[in-house]
């Protein structure tokens, strides 16, 4: 018996003849938080819907709690939180939270507990329409947690909220889910959200969407296996180079290379590895510089890419060149 809460094996999803994702392999362990990060249209929400049972995979298999997932959605024991909250507008906050607890002996206790934990006690008798967006999503989460699911699916739950609220509610959410001991699968297109909340991230890209890399956040940032992964995990300059014996030569000079790749490679130069030097003939063009809380931000343009680099000092130059001291990650081309 596997300890995996969820395991996807070569899952392919399609609407009619249109394949939206394929080759999805992913496992989630008990209590783990995994995010699927990808641009819109890569089919990441469909993965969630197939796990919930709203959609049948057209290939591959899904196992939930160690057994093939064939039950209809209402018998899968999986909780779900929606981007549009999907609250029952005609039911009070209390009845929304208690909806999944019908027949449970401790329903009332459980609802009160969640109301208290989610700071909704004072709003218990209101209708959802009279709540703010953040409050509504707290109800959505409490409702999904109420039946104590072992796996919670979150479909861009914070996308409809203000930026300020998003980070705050995200980490609060993570706490609640953690304290319930549930595993979570979050779908998002927001890098910061995914990195702030996840133990591991699965990067999906392309059309149909394919799984590019699954790893812990730091590993993804430092050792992406694909240019798209490098771009999606943070600011970076992607520079073509030729590498041999862990040395590479690019338009920016010679570098030590971390990865053991030879031939045509793409260097992934993260801002923290950039020592920027004013240089009238340098390859980097300074678009714009501005001061933002403690640091000077420089928006640089190179070869069609833009990257924003923070420096302690303002660089009074139109063009820059760059030197790197630390070894750089490279991806074979």
């Amino acid at each position: 018996m596997s300890a995996n809460v969820l395991s996807l094996d070569a899952v392919q999803l399609a609407y009619g003849d249109t394949v939206v994702t394929e080759g999805i392999d992913l496992t989630i362990q008990a209590g783990e938080w995994v995010s699927i990060l990808g641009p819109s249209g890569c089919g990441k929400s469909s993965i969630l819907r197939s796990v919930a049972g709203f959609m049948e995979p057209s290939g591959g298999s899904i196992e939930l709690f160690g057994a093939p997932a064939t039950a209809p959605p209402e018998r899968r024991g999986v909780g779900m939180v929606f981007q549009d909250f999907a609250l029952f507008n005609h039911l009070s906050v209390r009845d929304n939270i208690g909806f999944g607890l019908r027949g449970a002996a401790d329903a009332e206790v459980r609802v009160n507990e969640l109301l208290k934990r989610c700071e909704l006690t004072d709003l218990a008798d209101r209708l959802p329409a009279h709540l703010s967006g953040g409050q509504q999503q707290r109800v959505g989460l409490a409702r999904a947690l109420a039946p104590r699911p072992k796996l919670l699916l979150l479909d861009e739950p914070f996308a409809n909220l203000d930026a300020d609220l998003r980070g705050e509610l995200g980490s609060w959410c993570a706490q609640q889910i953690q304290s319930e001991g549930a595993a979570a699968l979050l779908v998002t297109h927001d890098r910061r959200e995914a990195m702030a909340l996840s133990d591991r991230i699965a990067i999906v890209d392309g059309s149909p969407g394919r799984l590019l890399q699954v790893d812990q956040t730091q590993a993804l940032y430092q050792q992406p296996n694909h240019q798209a992964v490098a771009r999606m995990t943070g600011e970076a300059l992607l520079v073509p180079a030729r590498a041999a014996d862990q040395r590479a030569r690019s338009a920016f000079g010679d570098h030590d290379v971390l990865a053991k790749v030879d031939g045509s490679v793409t260097l992934v130069i993260r801002p923290e590895h950039m020592d920027l030097v004013p240089d009238e003939n340098g390859p980097l063009v300074v678009d714009h510089s501005y001061f933002d809380a403690q640091q000077w931000m420089h928006r640089l343009r190179y070869n069609g890419q833009t990257v924003t680099v923070a420096q302690n000092l303002r660089l009074n130059a139109n063009r820059l060149s760059l030197s790197t001291q630390a070894p750089i990650w490279a991806i074979a081309r």
Binding site: E74, R76, G79, D84, H90, R102, P147
Partner: protein, 521 residues
């Protein structure tokens, strides 16, 4: 530099117009009152048969209730199939179920009565022994007529209901039955309530089907007594108002803005989860099939056969032209009568007042009532000038505009409400004159609403029977009255040709309407 003009107070003209509108709405009632107070008849009015009135009243109520129950159940079921059940050909099929809307109830009734008679084309096939008329047949016909209205209202509400809501309930362990009972039905309650009242009023006010089927309800009684003089007709008219006006007012309360909101064309996306159970599929298919056979296939088949095979005697061009002229002029009159309150209500930022209720109450008054009231009024005014009004069709236009003002109102109000003051201000700042603002900014914004209000009214007017029948100027026939008369004369050839022409006219307008509303999305 030009500054945006401040909001103007209600001008004197607007107040007068408001008063005038209210007076117009009161005219049929005034006519009814006069007929009551000063009865004129060739033969002394016979005593009123109380039991006949009681029977007609109870028939009206029972008919309306039965039609409402059946139409709401059937229409909601079709709406559910339309929105949530995707199968090959489903969109075509559900679009077909809305098509009986183009058939006026008297035409549907006439074709079904003929087709389902013991030796009629379908009656013989089914081995029917009974004739198809009376109360039960009327219920059947009106259910067919009203189901599309329910389907349109409920499917629009279903589409607005986020699919995620049902999925959320499902992921919380709710069974399909519990989802329908606890999530879908409560969410649809306003729409169902509105649809129910729509049908209730439609069925209680219907004249065509009950006349063809010879069902003794208040509207048909009023029509029959209308030509006899005496106090019976105004008495029946009064009963009719008492029976229907609470429904109309209640409908406005319950329905909220359902009547005025346009139908949404949001794609529902791909239906997830399990397919419907086999028995649901079988029942669904059977009901759809039966509905389409009786509501569409059989009537169209008979009309076509009569129109093509039996030589018509009467002229066609005259009624065709008259119908078009009446449809266009009454459609425009409706825009004025419905647009005026819409503009005033929009001006008060959408506060629904007595004015809106007035507009809808006027439109809920049965056509027979409007026709009778206006005719009595005109006949009793001693001067000849108003008489010539009747003869000329002014009263017909007024009656039709009163009856259908709510169509234009509902189409125009949202457009007037959403008129963007900022874009007007922007245009003024860019140097546009008032006229230019109208021409380039306000006009184009209102044009689609004006067009759809006009087309909706046009379709309703050309399908209308009782007002046209009672108020049409001497010597003129419309396609609708021609169909009605041809049925009574048993001239099926004339009926077929006139019906085909009417359907053609309605379909063209309807197609324009559908295209237009899709463009707007």
């Amino acid at each position: 530099m030009k500054t945006p003009s401040p909001a103007l107070p209600l001008s004197l003209a607007a107040k007068l117009g408001l008063l005038g509108t209210a007076a117009l709405v009161g005219l049929p009632i005034l006519g009814l009152g006069l007929a009551w107070a000063y009865p004129v008849g060739l033969i002394d009015a016979p005593p009123i048969h109380t039991d006949r009135l009681v029977e007609a009243t109870s028939n009206t109520v029972l008919l309306a209730l039965l039609v409402t129950v059946f139409a709401v159940v059937l229409g909601s079921f079709f709406a559910w199939i339309q929105v949530r059940w995707i199968f090959p050909g489903s969109s075509l099929l559900t679009r077909l179920t809305v098509l009986p809307l183009v058939l006026p109830s008297f035409l549907l009734a006439a074709t079904l009565r003929e087709g389902l008679a013991p030796l009629g084309s379908l009656g013989e096939l089914l081995g029917r022994q009974e004739r198809f008329d009376g109360f039960g047949a009327t219920v059947f016909v009106l259910v067919l007529s009203c189901t599309p209205y329910v389907q349109l209202v409920v499917s629009a509400a279903l589409k607005r209901l986020p699919r995620h809501t049902e999925e959320a309930a499902q992921s919380l362990g709710a069974s399909p039955i519990r989802i329908v009972r606890e999530i879908v039905l409560p969410a649809l309650r306003p729409a169902l309530g509105f649809a129910a009242l729509l049908v209730l009023v439609y069925a209680a006010a219907d004249f065509g089907a009950v006349a063809v089927m010879d069902t003794q309800v208040l509207t048909y009684e009023l029509y029959q007594f209308a030509g006899r003089g005496g106090v019976q007709a105004p008495l029946i008219g009064g009963l009719l108002i008492v029976a229907i006006s609470p429904l109309v007012i209640l409908g406005r309360r319950l329905g909220g803005d359902y009547g005025s909101s346009e139908l949404s064309y949001v794609r529902s996306g791909h239906m997830a989860g399990r397919r419907p159970a086999l028995w649901v599929k079988i029942i669904g298919t059977a009901l759809l099939g039966i509905y389409l056979i009786f509501g569409l296939v059989l009537p169209l088949m008979l009309i076509t056969r009569w129109g093509l095979l039996i030589p018509a005697q009467g002229p066609l061009i005259g009624p065709l032209v008259t119908t078009a002229v009446v449809g266009v002029t009454a459609g425009l009159a409706t825009l004025v009568l419905g647009g005026f309150p819409a503009a005033l209500v929009a001006k008060s930022k959408g506060k629904r007042g007595a004015l809106e209720t007035l507009t809808f109450v006027a439109s809920g008054v049965p056509g027979v009532m409007i026709g009778f009231g206006l005719l009595q009024l005109a006949l009793r005014v001693p001067q000849g000038s108003l008489r010539s009004f009747v003869e000329g069709g002014a009263i017909l236009l007024l009656g039709l505009a009163l009856r259908f003002a709510s169509h234009s109102y509902a189409a125009l109000k949202p457009a007037l409400l959403t008129q963007n003051q900022q874009s007007v201000e922007a245009a003024r700042l860019l140097g546009a004159s008032r006229w230019r603002v109208w021409h380039r900014v306000r006009g184009p914004h209102l044009a689609p609403a004006l067009a759809s209000g006009f087309l909706l009214s046009f379709v309703a007017v050309v399908k209308e029977l009782p007002i046209t029948l009672m108020l049409i100027p001497a010597g003129h026939t419309t396609l609708a009255t021609r169909i009605f008369d041809a049925h009574e004369d048993a001239h099926l050839g004339d009926l077929g040709v006139a019906a085909l022409s009417l359907l053609g006219m309605v379909l063209v307008a309807q197609a324009l309407l559908w295209r237009w509303s899709r463009h707007e999305r």
